[in-house]
Symmetry: C2
Subunit: 360 residues, 2 copies
């Protein structure tokens, strides 16, 4: 058996628990779940999400859509497609199945309509509305309505409703009420315009992992798209959205040096853990070492993780293996060709990261 | 032709210029060049480095060594190998060719010797000495000497000399004199101990891209191992080690949104550019946009790059393509399955990133 490190380990029991928890929440609030597969990029895990009741899948890029379409006939591309290459890919998928795209510009509408006409298909379109994260999305209810009208008039496109990403919501769950009420009010204003002009909006897609279990406070949502919830990471732990025991994905590493006093070096650097800092606690280092909670990963080179161990009661020795929960699991998974799937009482099995590197 | 973005573009003319410049420097100072291939992870580019006169190649991990050994019979693994899996891989390579490993612990010596005995091979070993970066490496000349003695006595191992990584040297080239003199003095002290006890040290391996062209100020060096010099990036530009025109690797991106006032979004996020900040100018954003020098990439999501364009005379439009020089090119290359190799008057060709993801 290949015993090499660094190695991405996925705990099957914790994955199932995380999936079931969200599925139960969705069911109890009559809210559809459309998990964002950018976190795991795995067909096996996407299948598990569908089996747990997800109504479809979310992807960021069309490269991911091409992979996930192998197992799902209802894929949402949560990304504006404006260039000819992406629009062509989407149209070709739409010839075979339901595809929905979130976009925020006239140019995107025109490009996508052009491709839909050329390939003789119908593509569902959501208007991406900025509800406070200020990354993409039209700025006002009126702009959302006007873009929806354009979609409605564009050949080959079907206006399906609204889309938003509440990425700014990192308050503790119990404190999210005011910001979610504001989001609800913005969406309601747009939906009111849609409704008064007879524009359909069967889908209102929102949600992120931090806000996932408060999504009922935005009654306009028909579905949510959390991604990280399947694994969790130090962002969601330190943000107060889960416990350490809810983290299903870890990096197994080997200590390769202790030559510098007060420090050990593990064989996971930025090419394994990424340079992402922890959002809620940027000074907490580049991940959390389960066996040495007092240790701090203070610096990363590409293949070295420097771990400050001065405050540890005992310190890891060269050759020892230690387990790291990364700050942000999604880009870490994207660095691996495969992970190891760990079920109780069975040897770990390779789990392909099918959509790894599909950034186009 | 696949016109998708984001796309890693490699400029063949600039690569050749960068390779030739370092080769000429090495020749004029009688200094061997052993390029670090972690930057490009490409067999084609490694071949070009060997053709330009490199005496061998450097790799970080044994997964990379297995790839580079296909075309090079003198590979240095610039990384301590302490676990059984890595030592076995090294020993199996050493059965066929020259392999040298840099290490800094008794445990690493014992593990590697165990594998060398088992596979009936001889492995060259360099003592990794800390010369100020404080990542790995023994701390004193005496410790270096004692570890070299252990290597000398360990079956299957051949003491080849000293290794260091002067990663702390980011002063402007003209100001590097004092810090390089200090490094020279540390190495000389260890080499004097080696020499007085009849321990051979035919190799003294050092060097990084920022210090590459000042390496003659450390006369102990027999070879240097720069990696980034083949491409350069915003770290080396803003550090004062090259000009923008020396950057051979760029990311071609598409503007996908301009819905948020004062900002556009490109389709390269942290899964393309990484979250690495610019070492010399951490507040300069996540890369440099060639066509819009006044623009600033202020934030990255996984697939979105948010570009502040308020200070631009004119702003990029949705669908437009813009070219980004990343802060740190090495981990960006590691995210791509292939790059595009651009020669004058020829269509771009795919360039496989052969050792991508080989972090074991």
């Amino acid at each position: 058996m290949n015993t090499s490190t660094p190695r991405l380990m996925i705990d099957a029991v914790r994955v199932e628990k995380n999936l079931n928890r969200l599925a139960a929440y969705g069911k109890s609030h009559n809210l559809d779940i459309r998990p964002h597969t950018k976190t795991h990029k795995s067909l096996k895990l996407a299948r598990m999400q569908l089996q747990a009741g997800a109504i479809g899948l979310t992807v960021a890029k069309v490269g991911e859509a091409n992979i996930m379409a192998e197992i799902c006939d209802d894929v949402l591309v949560a990304y504006p497609t404006v260039d000819a290459w992406r629009c062509k890919q989407i149209a070709q998928l739409a010839q075979k199945q339901k595809i929905t795209v979130a976009l925020d510009s006239d140019i995107a509408v025109e490009s996508l309509s052009h491709a839909a006409k050329k390939y003789g298909c119908t593509i569902g379109v959501l208007v991406d509305m900025d509800v406070g994260f200020h990354r993409t999305g039209v700025q006002t209810a009126l702009a959302a309505f006007e873009l929806a009208q354009k979609i409605d008039q564009a050949p080959g496109l079907r206006p399906d409703g609204l889309f938003c990403f509440p990425g700014q919501v990192w308050e503790l769950p119990e404190n999210q009420g005011p910001v979610l009420a504001e989001i609800s009010s913005k969406l309601a204003e747009a939906l009111d315009l849609f409704s008064r002009h007879g524009l359909p909006a069967p889908m209102v897609s929102g949600g992120s992992t931090p806000s996932a279990f408060q999504s009922h406070l935005v009654p306009e949502f028909t579905e949510i798209r959390p991604g990280t919830y399947i694994f969790n990471d130090m962002n969601t732990v330190r943000g107060g959205f889960c416990e350490l025991d809810d983290c299903a994905a870890t990096i197994l590493t080997t200590v390769v040096s202790d030559a510098v006093p007060g420090q050990v070096v593990v064989d996971a650097g930025s090419k394994t853990l990424t340079s992402d800092r922890c959002g809620p606690e940027p000074q907490s280092g580049y991940g959390y070492i389960l066996e040495y909670p007092e240790a701090k990963i203070t610096a990363l080179s590409e293949e070295h993780g420097q771990v400050e161990v001065r405050t540890c009661d005992h310190v890891p020795t060269v050759g020892e293996r230690v387990t790291i929960i990364p700050n942000h699991i999604c880009p870490c998974v994207n660095l691996q060709d495969y992970a190891w799937w760990v079920e109780p009482d069975r040897p770990p099995e390779p789990l392909p990261i099918d959509a790894r590197g599909k950034v186009a």
